[in-house]
């Protein structure tokens, strides 16, 4: 992005009334960095203008302390060496003496401790993104350039300890320096003339890339949900139907280690809760033989479902999507054949396709790096770990339901746990990833989530579910606020894995009991994908709703089917208690 493009991007939203306030806390003159940062945030925000406030130049700790009192939607902190000690910058001529080294190390240690405390506190109030120094140190130390100086190594050790401590003990998000190095070479970052004249130290390209890295941490893109992989010359090297099961490989001995690395990434993503499916043109029995090999790096049980047949791959992909019950736009399809990729892209609109670069080790490394970017998550929840096993169990469940749904529910030994006003990361994730059973499609950013949790009139219900087949974890979230004695519900989502268990009916019953009211107000809005919830409201109201819905207790009672689950209730205020 050029500076002109950044300015145009920012200007395009300048007249909008909705506002998102961010702060840039830096020790240098922000100049174009502010523009690039605002533009990157605009690109990650659907509506509204981005206002970026800056603090006093040269007073980074003071700026951060002031933000604690009045936190914005997010704070970016591009730290540089001169913020730790002005003698480590180029705008100071008061310290490049050999005998000052120990004093500089001591003052840096103190400054890092001070920053650690204030950043930790600030991260409790808002989202904080931090980058470690990106500019070169001045040539002020003893050895000739090219030889490490003990003082420099000690500086870097202090900095690494500071960053590791922050990430482990606070919610501060730290930019990956290695990732930044790969796109912004260190020799092209510093603008000496600009720094000495104006105090702005970055060349435009580096300013843009660093702003992008920080904006990515403040407004991360929602991770994708599933990968569908081909087998031959993709999951493994070789064609199993022709070469035989013993001849396919993914190891150093056969010079096919790149496929092993690909499997390693699939295994890692599976542990994050990413669905991994297989679509292969193969004899199903032959494909199974390959997948049963004991030395497969990706666990066999994490590959589900496996579609091995001679039909069109787009058909296999559609069946996999149906099993997963997720949209094509959150799925990546990988195949070594350009023809198959084209066929799937044409037959499954919205799916992302990538060619597996067979035989190109560097290409494969680049691919698995991209996969990490598309699917990586900051936290792994219990639900992530349960996802694939519960999906497998769903297969058995669906069969039972097809036989007799009422009998299935009666004997499922279901247990529902209602968690009132106990927010966590999973609630936030569910709200922002659920489409089919979603009251109005509303998404929340972290700032809006925090404001909602701080509202004394707001309420939040999270629902856990488990039965004799499998625990599903937290599957539903309902939220709203009291207004004039009426509970107004503006968020209600239910994971598609938990459909057909009457959890939604249990939730409604719990709301009528908890709120002790005769009416529930739902801020419903039809979307392209929330037909499932629309059908539920239609069942109760007798007509398809186009907007907000009031559900009365009498209508609910008259239309509610039999409910069999044992219900437990937990409350943040009242402690644990059994409700029914």
């Amino acid at each position: 992005m050029t500076l002109v493009e950044a300015l145009r991007t920012v200007n395009s939203r300048a007249k909008e009334t909705a506002r998102h306030g961010f702060s840039l806390a830096c020790g240098f003159t922000p100049l174009h960095f502010k523009t690039f940062f605002a533009a990157q945030l605009v690109e990650r925000t659907v509506v509204g203008r981005i206002d970026v406030e800056v603090g006093l130049f040269g007073d980074l700790p003071g700026t951060l302390r002031r933000l604690i009192e009045n936190p914005p939607d997010g704070v970016a902190v591009p730290l540089e060496w001169s913020d730790l000690d002005s003698r480590l910058g180029f705008r100071s001529t008061n310290g490049w003496r050999i005998d000052r080294g120990a004093d500089i190390l001591s003052s840096v240690q103190m400054r890092l401790s001070e920053l650690s405390l204030v950043l930790t506190e600030l991260s409790q109030r808002t989202t904080v993104a931090l980058s470690l120094p990106t500019l070169p140190l001045p040539p002020m130390f003893k050895p000739p350039r090219g030889m490490s100086d003990p003082s420099v190594l000690e500086l870097r050790r202090q900095l690494a300890e500071f960053a590791a401590g922050l990430v482990q003990t606070s919610k501060v998000r730290v930019v990956d320096s290695q990732q930044l190095d790969s796109v912004s070479p260190i020799s092209t970052r510093y603008d000496t003339a600009s720094d000495l004249r104006t105090g702005f130290p970055y060349r435009p390209d580096h300013a843009c890339l660093l702003a992008e890295a920080l904006a990515n941490l403040l407004r991360p893109v929602a991770p994708m949900k599933g990968i569908i992989t081909d087998l031959d010359n993709t999951l493994w090297s070789g064609i199993i139907g022709e070469d035989g099961v013993d001849e396919i490989s993914w190891d150093l001995d056969h010079k096919t280690q790149a496929h092993g690395l690909y499997q390693e990434m699939l295994a890692s993503l599976s542990e994050l809760g990413v669905f991994i499916g297989v679509a292969s043109k193969n004899d199903p029995l032959v494909a199974q033989q390959g997948l049963q090999r004991a030395d497969l790096v990706v666990p066999r049980e994490s590959l589900f479902p496996v579609e091995a047949n001679w039909g069109a791959k787009s058909e296999s992909v559609r069946r996999i999507l149906q099993t997963w019950n997720i949209g094509a736009d959150s799925v990546l399809f990988l195949d070594d054949s350009p023809i198959e990729l084209a066929e799937v892209a044409a037959g499954v609109p919205g799916i992302q396709c990538r060619q597996f670069p067979t035989g190109d080790a560097e290409g494969i490394l680049q691919l698995i790096g991209e996969m990490r970017d598309l699917f990586g998550k900051t936290t792994v929840t219990l639900e992530d770990q349960l996802r694939v096993s519960s999906l497998r169990n769903n297969g058995a469940t669906v069969t039972s339901v097809a036989t007799d749904p009422e009998e299935f529910l009666r004997h499922a030994e279901a247990e529902i746990t209602l968690e009132w006003n106990i927010p966590d990361d999973r609630c936030f994730e569910l709200i922002n990833k659920t489409n089919q059973f979603n009251l109005n499609g509303q998404r929340l950013d972290e700032a809006a989530w925090r404001r909602r949790l701080a509202d004394p009139q707001a309420f939040l219900l999270a629902v856990r579910y488990g039965d004799k087949y499998a625990p599903l974890g937290k599957v539903s979230v309902l939220a709203g606020r009291w207004q004039n004695g009426i509970p107004l519900i503006d968020i209600w989502v239910l994971s598609c894995r938990a459909f057909s268990r009457r959890i939604e009916h249990q939730v409604l019953q719990a709301c009528f009991e908890r709120f002790d009211c005769d009416q529930l107000f739902f801020d419903f809005l039809p979307t392209e994908r929330n037909a499932t919830l629309c059908e539920l409201l239609t069942d109760f109201c007798g007509a398809e709703p186009n907007g907000p819905v009031i559900l009365t207790r009498s209508k609910f009672k008259s239309h509610c089917p039999s409910l069999y689950a044992k219900v437990l209730s937990h409350d943040s205020l009242n402690g644990n208690r059994v409700a029914a």
Binding site: L3, V4, N11, H32
Partner: protein
């Protein structure tokens, strides 16, 4: 379009992006005294935008000439600068 009118047109685009609140018709008469937002930081932004647009490097000592559309146009139209671009 002659070179000078092309420079003027490109310069007008530069001012428009740095001062989005200034009406298009007033861009060619814009100056430090007529545009409230035209402070020292805005001048630095404008210079960077001009450098990017015209693919030139403007020496820091020349910044004092960047006080109005007219003066900047005169600066950009100098043969030596155009030859360097």
């Amino acid at each position: 379009m002659t070179p000078s009118t092309e420079i003027a047109s490109q310069l007008e685009d530069c001012l428009a992006v740095v001062f989005p609140d200034v009406p298009t018709k007033q861009l060619r008469s814009a100056s430090v005294s007529s545009v409230a937002q035209w402070d020292s930081l805005a001048t630095l932004t404008l210079v960077s935008v001009i450098e990017e647009t015209f693919q030139i490097q403007i020496p820091a000592d020349d910044l004092e000439e960047f006080l109005s559309f007219e003066l900047i146009l005169d600066y950009l139209s100098r043969p030596a600068l155009r030859a360097a671009a």
